[in-house]
């Protein structure tokens, strides 16, 4: 029984690495988070006791480890003016002088079948990877890990305005990237 559990947990490693890679930049950080998650999972076998889906349970552990890593790394980093990520002005070019869209957004078709959905997700992962590090971190903490904005600002030691600008940037960039990479393919 214990042996099977260990095997099942180990088998999830590639999935965990992929999961962490989208949210953390740098192989060391990913490897550390995954390793700690596997160890924590093995140590907590009794807690798990088949009460939920194993992958869901381990993903929950990994989410906490990822937040820990982000919290630690932001303590060691100079926080202002990272890659000029604090400005929303870069998107001014998308609008004309009176503030109208130069290229008005269209309604997107909902990905209907499994193949379309798969293509959409693949494009999304690519677009996420292309975001500047801090922008993508804030965005994924908010949208994937489901943190409140106030909590994210506190964790990363940034102002709420900065936080909000990063989220706006992430959404603008992802939308544009998806329109190019997914819709117009």
């Amino acid at each position: 029984m214990a042996k099977d559990f260990r095997k099942e947990v180990e088998a999830l490693r590639p999935y965990l690495v992929r999961y962490a890679s989208i949210q953390l930049r740098g192989t060391d950080a990913v490897e550390d988070a995954v390793q700690e998650t596997l160890l924590a999972a093995l140590a907590a076998e009794a807690t798990f006791a088949g009460r939920s889906n194993l992958r869901t349970w381990i993903t929950g552990i990994l989410k906490h480890k990822i937040i820990d890593v982000i919290r630690q790394s932001s303590r060691h980093r100079a926080l202002d003016a990272v890659d000029g990520e604090e400005s929303a002005e870069d998107f001014d070019a998308l609008f004309d002088e009176s503030g109208h869209w130069r290229d008005p957004p269209h309604a997107w078709p909902h990905p209907e079948d499994a193949l379309q959905e798969k293509q959409f997700v693949a494009a999304l992962e690519k677009c996420l990877a292309a975001l500047p590090a801090r922008t993508s971190q804030v965005f994924l903490m908010r949208e994937h890990l489901g943190s409140e904005t106030a909590e994210i600002c506190k964790e990363l030691g940034i102002t709420s305005t900065h936080c909000w600008v990063l989220l706006y940037r992430a959404r603008m960039a992802l939308r544009a990237c998806l329109e190019k990479g997914w819709l117009r393919k």
């Binding site: 109208h100 269209h106 999304l124 908010r142 949208e143 989220l167 603008m172 939308r175």
Partner: protein, 63 residues
């Protein structure tokens, strides 16, 4: 006159649409945004695009 004062551009609307996904807007902001969205297809589409991205990101890795 009041409506005129309340008018916002697509650029401002796009920022409010994003902000509304993270926190409750002030009453004034909500009114301005709603008035804008009634009249503006492009910003309604923009908002729909962002919601699709939100749903997809939340579900990332689920399968």
């Amino acid at each position: 006159m009041i409506l005129r004062m309340g008018k916002i551009s697509c650029k401002e609307a796009s920022r409010l649409i994003s902000q509304a996904m993270d926190e409750r807007l002030s009453f004034g902001q909500r009114v301005k945004l709603r008035l804008h969205l009634v009249l503006c297809d492009a910003c309604r589409n923009f908002s729909g695009n962002l919601l699709l991205v939100r749903r997809a990101v939340a579900r990332l890795f689920e399968k």
